[in-house]
């Protein structure tokens, strides 16, 4: 009976707003439905001919918190929340409570912003704050108002960087703004407002420190809150938060200037940001004073320095904006973790700003790989990508033809015809794609690298045919007539193979980062790495010869010419590093296969996949790109099926690696990253030499492999069973 009453009430209200069709009415069918339901048998449905149970399974279930984003929670709408006093302006008539609450809001917004960067939706994080959603309401409260405006401007800047770079993956929500109110003009004023607020609080702080005689002069300044003893600490707590915001937005803006022109200034802002963050962290001690301790653990999880819950936030308000996709549960970072995130982000950005912008492909690739080692997050990766590729040029400055040609010591600035060459245009596109992919996160990067290998190898084949034909017609082969185009194209063709091998090597090594290989598969992975490394080293060595040749010719022509020895030396050194890695891969392949052949290590046997199937699954993309050109699996089984433990010490691969590592350490004295790499390789070699000696003598030992010294080259761990 009650039900019917309530339904009739709803009936009236619906008929007001939801009209039925023309000449028709809404007829209540609830009684009829309940009658038919009681007549139905268990499991029976009433449905039409087009009913499909499978399709029906995908229906969104209403009132299921995991599927129904429209569930009405605390408030029906933002307006209702405001009217109910959920986000009052001013927050409190008590000035102390007011300032404390504003600091809580600032802290919580910082947490929201970091959570957003980490992959949650903007609507449910930063824009869960009513003060940010409706900044016009707070215009009388300069502090809160300007802070919220700057937050909005910062969000806008971040969205613009990430969407321009398109380093975001389809799963990333960062660039989705769901029609949220981004008022560019109004928000842009936020920074000047915030500056004015900062100035006022600075004066306030000076007034606190001043002697009593001076204090009288400054009395017209209204204190932030009522307790004069706390004034100084409140001023400091606010100032560091405001300044962090200010410098952070400046950093983002400076980094967007073309060709990295704003980097120097950006680094200053970054340094300020980091030091302000330290003050923010320090302020927690003061802010937590009046809070009753509920145990350390709970405090650690809190989203504000004070540990209080902030006023004016409801993450369910905007939930429907992401509709009709199922709502996502938001787990905000803790305040401490959010600060940690910013420190990491700022260090990553600083690393980018500190890059020398050397127009040398070897340098650039090495830098990107080194940068990716710290697993940077999306925002910094987006910045890196925007730096590398601007207007189709490296750093927005150098054409990819110039970069490639410089790789073997040639200058192509005068060669305009070549710029429009069909192959050069295609090459630029390939290079742009490659650099963009290298800025993506590791799993995405690996998948894409595997795919572009095929594009590169097809391109190489096509270019090979054209260049080969042209070379046959032009038998002189030397650039006597001044047209170096063919000469350069031929070199680029040769260099392509080196580049393809480099991509393949990166693809294989990322597999270790992503833990895609099981210990029983290490043998085939190292065998493959050996093949690729060998090819890469061969081509790089060839490039050194070209450079030496070009430089010598230049020197002959012009007696005053200074040979660019640095480049020669650098590549030669790199070749030696590759040589060291080759020896290690070879050594590991032999050791692993010997262990396998004599049953000391698990054979690659599973109930589902044979070894050849696993081989195909791991290396299919490489084989499609003809890396190597012969039947890799056959070659792998042939070369590894006869290795024996007692012969192991005879192969001196690890000793070779150790020797090379020792020799090249001097060369890398000025490059701490490379030096660390060489040291790690040396350690792996030393460790494995000992292991080989032990296991060749005693077959009852247990052997396992760990990546304690180097992320890609395993060290054998020997234990008595």
């Amino acid at each position: 009976m009650q039900k019917e009453e309530s339904s009739s009430i709803h009936n009236e209200s619906t008929n007001d707003s939801i009209p039925s069709g023309a000449n028709s009415v809404w007829a209540d069918v609830s009684p009829l439905l309940s009658a038919s339901c009681s007549d139905l048998h268990e499991g029976e449905l009433i449905h039409g001919d087009n009913f499909n149970l499978f399709a029906a399974m995908s229906a969104l279930e209403i009132m299921d918190p995991k599927m129904d984003s429209g569930m009405v929670s605390a408030f029906y709408s933002i307006d209702e929340a405001i009217e109910s006093g959920f986000a009052p302006v001013p927050i409190s008539s008590d000035r102390t409570v007011n300032v404390e609450s504003i600091i809580d809001i600032m802290d919580h917004l910082l947490v929201c912003e970091a959570t957003w960067h980490m992959g949650h939706s903007l609507a449910q994080t930063v824009f869960s704050c009513i003060y940010v959603l409706r900044p016009e309401r707070t215009s009388s409260q300069a502090l809160l108002h300007s802070y919220c405006r700057v937050i909005r401007a910062t969000c806008r800047a971040v969205v613009s960087v990430v969407s321009d770079a398109r380093t975001n993956e389809e799963d990333d929500l960062l660039t989705m703004t769901y029609g949220l109110p981004f008022n560019g003009d109004e928000d842009a004023k936020g920074l000047s407002l915030l500056n004015a607020v900062e100035e006022t609080i600075c004066r306030q702080l000076r007034a606190c420190k001043a002697t009593s005689s001076k204090r009288r002069l400054l009395e017209e300044l209204e204190p932030l809150q009522t307790n004069p003893h706390l004034e100084e600490s409140f001023c400091k707590a606010l100032l560091c938060r405001i300044r962090f915001r200010k410098h952070f937005l400046h950093t983002l803006n400076c980094m967007r200037r073309p060709q990295g022109r704003g980097f120097e200034l950006a680094r200053k802002h970054i340094a300020s940001c980091i030091s302000e963050l330290d003050y923010v962290l320090e302020s927690a001690e003061f802010l937590r004073l009046d809070l009753v301790e509920n145990g350390e653990n709970e405090i650690e999880e809190r989203t504000t320095a004070s540990g209080r819950h902030p006023i004016g936030f409801d993450s369910t308000l905007n939930k429907r904006l992401s509709a009709p996709t199922p709502p996502r549960a938001i787990k905000l970072l803790s305040w401490k973790k959010a600060l940690g995130y910013y420190v990491k982000l700022l260090h990553n950005l600083d690393e980018i700003c500190g890059f020398s912008l050397e127009p040398d492909l070897d340098f650039v690739l090495q830098f990107v790989i080194q940068f990716q080692k710290s697993r940077p997050d999306l925002v910094s990766r987006a910045h890196l990508q925007l730096l590398l590729v601007q207007d189709g040029k490296l750093f927005g400055r150098d054409t990819f033809l110039a970069i490639c040609a410089r790789g073997f010591g040639l200058d192509v600035t005068k060669d305009h015809a070549l710029q429009k060459n069909e192959y050069i245009l295609q090459l630029s596109q390939l290079m742009i794609n490659l650099l963009k992919i290298l800025c993506a996160n590791a799993p995405w990067q690996r998948r894409k690298l595997g795919k572009i290998l095929n594009d590169w190898s097809i391109f190489r084949v096509q270019m090979g045919i054209t260049v080969g034909q042209a070379m046959q017609q032009d038998t002189s082969r030397t650039p006597k007539n001044g047209d170096k185009s063919l000469f350069i194209l031929n070199h680029i063709y040769g260099w392509l193979e080196e580049q393809i091998s480099w991509v393949a090597l990166r693809f294989l090594m990322l597999g270790f980062d992503l833990e895609l290989y099981s210990p029983s598969e290490y043998c085939m992975v190292y065998w493959y790495m050996y093949i690729i490394l060998w090819k890469l080293a061969e081509k790089a060595r060839f490039r050194v010869l070209i450079i030496v040749n070009t430089e010598e010719r230049k020197a002959k022509k012009n007696k005053d010419y200074h040979r660019d020895m640095a480049r020669e030396d650098r590549i030669s050194l790199w070749v030696l590093l590759l040589q060291c890695q080759i020896s290690l891969s070879q050594g590991l392949t032999v050791m692993l296969s010997a262990l396998r052949n004599q049953g000391m290590c698990l054979k690659s046997q599973g109930p589902f996949n044979t070894e050849s199937e696993k081989f195909a699954q791991h290396f299919e993309l490489l084989q499609k790109a003809s890396l190597p050109e012969y039947d890799a699996y056959e070659s792998f089984t042939e070369s590894t099926s006869h290795t024996r433990l007692d012969y192991l010490p005879v192969y001196e691969y690890f000793r070779d690696a150790q020797k090379i590592a020792k020799d090249i350490k001097v060369g890398f004295a000025n490059d701490p990253d490379k030096l660390a790499e060489v040291r790690a390789l040396e350690q792996v070699a030393e460790h494995n030499i000992i292991a080989v000696n032990l296991i060749s003598q005693d077959c009852s030992l247990k052997v396992s492999f760990e990546f304690t010294h180097h992320p890609y080259f395993a060290s054998a761990v020997v234990r008595r069973s």
């Binding site: 039900k3 309530s6 339904s7 009739s8 709803h10 009936n11 009236e12 209200s13 619906t14 008929n15 007001d16 707003s17 939801i18 039925s20 069709g21 000449n23 028709s24 009415v25 809404w26 007829a27 209540d28 069918v29 609830s30 009684p31 009829l32 439905l33 309940s34 009658a35 038919s36 339901c37 007549d39 139905l40 048998h41 268990e42 499991g43 029976e44 449905l45 009433i46 449905h47 039409g48 009913f51 399709a55 029906a56 995908s58 229906a59 969104l60 279930e61 209403i62 009132m63 429209g70 569930m71 009405v72 029906y76 709408s77 307006d79 209702e80 009217e83 429907r320 509709a323 009709p324």
Partner: protein
């Protein structure tokens, strides 16, 4: 409009009491018709009636969700499209079907 609604509500109620026609067959006739379902939290769903099971769970197709902006009525409503939805019987508070008056009258005559 309001009068129509009242009348239709009473007529359907009276027919459901006195009717001897199989309710299942009558519900089957409602398939593909526009159905308006109200739920506990005050939202309404307007969609094509697609399916119902013994427990009274309803599936609607091409659904539009209506919700009030404020808790106090009357208030303006917001709407958005949801596609196919399943409304569990536990949260359903009302259920109406779009009917022409003539059709409904003839339906009643048939039954009586």
């Amino acid at each position: 409009m309001e009068q129509d609604a009242e009348r239709s509500a009473t007529t359907v109620a009276s027919t459901s009491q006195g009717s001897k026609l199989d309710p299942i067959a009558r519900v089957r006739k409602l398939l593909f018709r526009q159905m308006l379902v109200g739920i506990k939290d005050g939202r309404f769903f307007l969609g094509n009636f697609h399916c119902i099971d013994k427990q009274g769970n309803i599936i609607l197709q091409d659904t539009v969700e209506y919700r009030s902006i404020r808790r106090s009525s009357p208030s303006p409503t917001e709407q958005r499209c949801l596609g196919m939805i399943l409304i569990p019987s536990s949260c359903r508070t009302s259920c109406h079907v779009d009917c022409s008056i003539e059709e409904q009258l003839s339906l009643i005559q048939l039954k009586e």
